[in-house]
């Protein structure tokens, strides 16, 4: 903490100083008259969520209390400040504002051209490398940015060939032990195009989760969700993480999702930070309403795979649960090989029929081809 200012009178830093006469007088006022704000209130102040009258009172106290200023500085020290510039000097250079304005205009123009060209083309299928890149940029697991892409009935009728090829490719990869889980920790059911048999509608849902609660830029969201309309991403500026969207442009929820998966036309399963451990959420109406489904009420879950009525959920302590009847009943499944049993946290599940792949936090992958009766590393 910076305390000794006795020799630093008249700190000017490029601006007219306060004058060394005023600093001692200012220092003499450092005896707060009001009580120290509690940790809760200081936190709210640091996060910008206090009421206006509270803010004025806290600032008045901060003007006289060095301890509280030090606490606030330590509290906010780790915050990424999007408004920071490289300059630590007082005041911007005289050419700063015109240059910044010109650069902003150029950026907007380039972005407009890029966006227009993007929307002129047919929506690109979801690319797993997007997940890989985004996943790699997240330092804290579990960090999943998942998108569910639905295809229109036109695809079902005329595009079945593409879907069948994609599904066959996925199964081939599964047989070879190479899946989206291999290096990406993203359940493949969330990355692949939808097969016609699933009968999904054209809604597009995106669930973004980041343990540091970073925002997702609209451009990233649109790459992940080709069907997402411009209005949805422009509604509130940058998209908030842990949000769910639909292709109609409506932001339907701001739940704290960990991951989610389609299992039917309008059925979505999701893991949320709440309603608490041991539960999952299910929606039968495309995300409009949700209900909590209790599994064991204890285990924090991080991984989910849902295909038809087969739902797999995994989490802490290597715990894995399976439902073959769309969540009506749940059975614990022991993952292991030989005499060893998995006790590590499961962070990824990729299920296709009887073949299921499970990935742990340390990167190990286990596979079963008989719905969990036997496992191989």
């Amino acid at each position: 903490m910076k305390r000794s200012w006795g020799g630093g009178f008249g700190r000017s830093r490029g601006m007219k100083g306060l004058g060394s006469f005023a600093l001692p007088r200012l220092a003499m006022r450092q005896t707060p008259e009001s009580a120290h704000p509690g940790g809760d209130l200081l936190t709210a102040f640091a996060e910008g969520t206090v009421l206006q009258e509270e803010r004025s009172a806290i600032l008045a106290h901060l003007g006289e209390c060095q301890d509280c200023r030090d606490v606030l500085a330590l509290t906010t020290a780790g915050d990424a400040d999007p408004l920071r510039t490289a300059s630590q000097n007082g005041g911007a250079a005289w050419w700063g504002w015109p240059l910044a304005a010109t650069a902003a205009v150029l950026c907007f123009a380039l972005a407009a051209v890029w966006q227009f060209s993007e929307f002129r083309h047919a929506p690109a299928p979801l690319v797993a490398s997007d997940f890989e890149r985004l996943q790699a940029s997240k330092p804290h697991p579990p960090a999943v940015i998942a998108a569910l892409t639905g295809r229109s009935t036109a695809n079902r009728q005329g595009g079945g060939g593409a879907e069948k090829t994609a599904t066959a490719n996925a199964r081939a990869r599964a047989r070879q032990g190479e899946t989206a889980l291999g290096a990406r920790s993203v359940p493949r059911s969330q990355a692949a195009p939808v097969s016609p048999a699933d009968g999904r509608d054209e809604s597009v849902f995106a669930i973004a989760q980041d343990s540091q609660a970073q925002t997702i830029s609209p451009s990233v969201a649109r790459r992940q969700m080709p069907g997402l309309t411009r209005s949805a991403t422009q509604a509130g500026g940058a998209l908030a993480s842990n949000s769910m969207f639909s292709s109609s442009g409506e932001i339907s929820a701001t739940k704290q999702f960990v991951t989610a998966s389609h299992s039917g036309a309008n059925t979505i399963w999701s893991l949320e930070r709440l309603p608490g451990p041991g539960t999952v959420s299910k929606s039968d109406d495309g995300g409009k309403t949700w209900m909590a489904v209790r599994i064991d009420g204890v285990t924090p879950f991080y991984a989910l795979s849902a295909a038809g009525s087969n739902i797999w959920i995994g989490g802490d302590g290597g715990k894995l649960f399976h439902s073959a009847n769309d969540g009506l009943d749940w059975a614990p499944v022991s993952v292991g090989h030989g005499s060893t049993r998995l006790t590590e946290t499961i962070i990824g599940i990729d299920g296709h029929g009887e073949t299921v792949l499970v990935k742990t936090r340390s990167g190990e992958v286990y596979e079963t081809r008989d719905s969990g009766a036997h496992w191989q590393p």
């Binding site: 100083g17 060394s20 007088r25 809760d40 640091a46 003007g63 060095q66 408004l83 309603p275 924090p300």
Partner: protein
């Protein structure tokens, strides 16, 4: 009531053992702490929207000793807590001590008369994020420890501080009018303006650090500081002139460095002694 039921379901209070009534009491307590009595329903509703309810429920469940809540807290916040302690204390051993100390306080090492633990979680009311609150509490503890260490300064440093203080008192006597005018000018500032001056000039914070605290751009801070210092100077000159000091003398007084005045006085006194 319907809205509270909905909140009760969405924040998962039931999973942590809270009944609807207990959840209502939780909200009522949070509202009373911040808004006091007599707030309108609309104000209360708006206020409740700003609360981090799921974290509040988690914290209070931990305070009650709910095992599932503790599991969730440990899995979600333990690493963040230790990382925050490290960024505050800078040294690993100090950070570990700081974090362990907070852990003990959160768990509650003292028992009430009814046998319940006194957990620090009970002071969290959901105004800010739980992660932010943990960081603030760590920072408060760290600042308290540093302040206690500062009290235990070596004897020689005490003497030096006293000598410096007495020297500055001499110089302040010489600038009585300036002192009064400065005090009046500083008193006329708003709390935010005094905070800006103190944070920048006394604490030595950078513009970026101050900007981060107030959630503005650092150029805004620079602009505000320029305005405040200009305003303080203008007010001081006006007060000095009102006290009978000429404008020229007032300008000179503002430009003079107190340390120079001090040196002048001491040299003058030394010359008088020799004479």
């Amino acid at each position: 009531m319907h809205k509270i039921s909905k909140l009760y379901q969405t924040c998962g209070a039931a999973a942590f053992g809270f009944t609807l009534q207990e959840f209502c009491d939780l909200l009522t307590d949070a509202v009373k702490r911040s808004l006091g009595e007599g707030s309108s329903l609309h104000e209360q509703a708006q206020f409740i929207k700003t609360l981090h309810l799921h974290e509040l429920v988690l914290a209070r469940a931990c305070a009650r000793g709910h095992a599932g809540a503790w599991e969730r807290f440990v899995s979600s916040y333990r690493e963040k807590l230790y990382a925050a302690a490290l960024s505050i204390a800078r040294q690993e051993w100090a950070a570990r001590e700081l974090a362990d100390s907070l852990y003990a306080d959160l768990f509650g090492t003292r028992l009430r008369s009814d046998g319940r633990r006194c957990s620090k979680f009970e002071s969290y009311s959901g105004r800010g994020s739980l992660e932010g609150w943990l960081r603030t509490v760590l920072a408060q503890e760290h600042v308290n420890r540093m302040r206690d260490q500062r009290r235990l300064v070596p004897f020689e440093e005490d003497l030096d501080a006293g000598a410096e203080a007495s020297c500055s008192r001499e110089t302040q006597t010489c600038t009585g009018h300036l002192e009064k005018a400065t005090d009046a000018a500083l008193a006329a500032l708003s709390g935010e303006e005094r905070f800006l001056l103190a944070a920048y000039y006394l604490d030595g914070r950078t513009l970026a650090e101050v900007a981060r605290i107030l959630h503005v751009h650092e150029s805004t801070i620079a602009r505000r500081l320029r305005k405040i210092t200009a305003s303080v100077r203008r007010r001081i000159i006006a007060l000095l002139c009102a006290a009978g000091v000429s404008k020229r003398a007032a300008d000179e007084a503002l430009e003079a460095d107190v340390r120079d005045l001090g040196v002048d006085v001491r040299s003058r006194l030394a010359q008088e002694r020799q004479a």
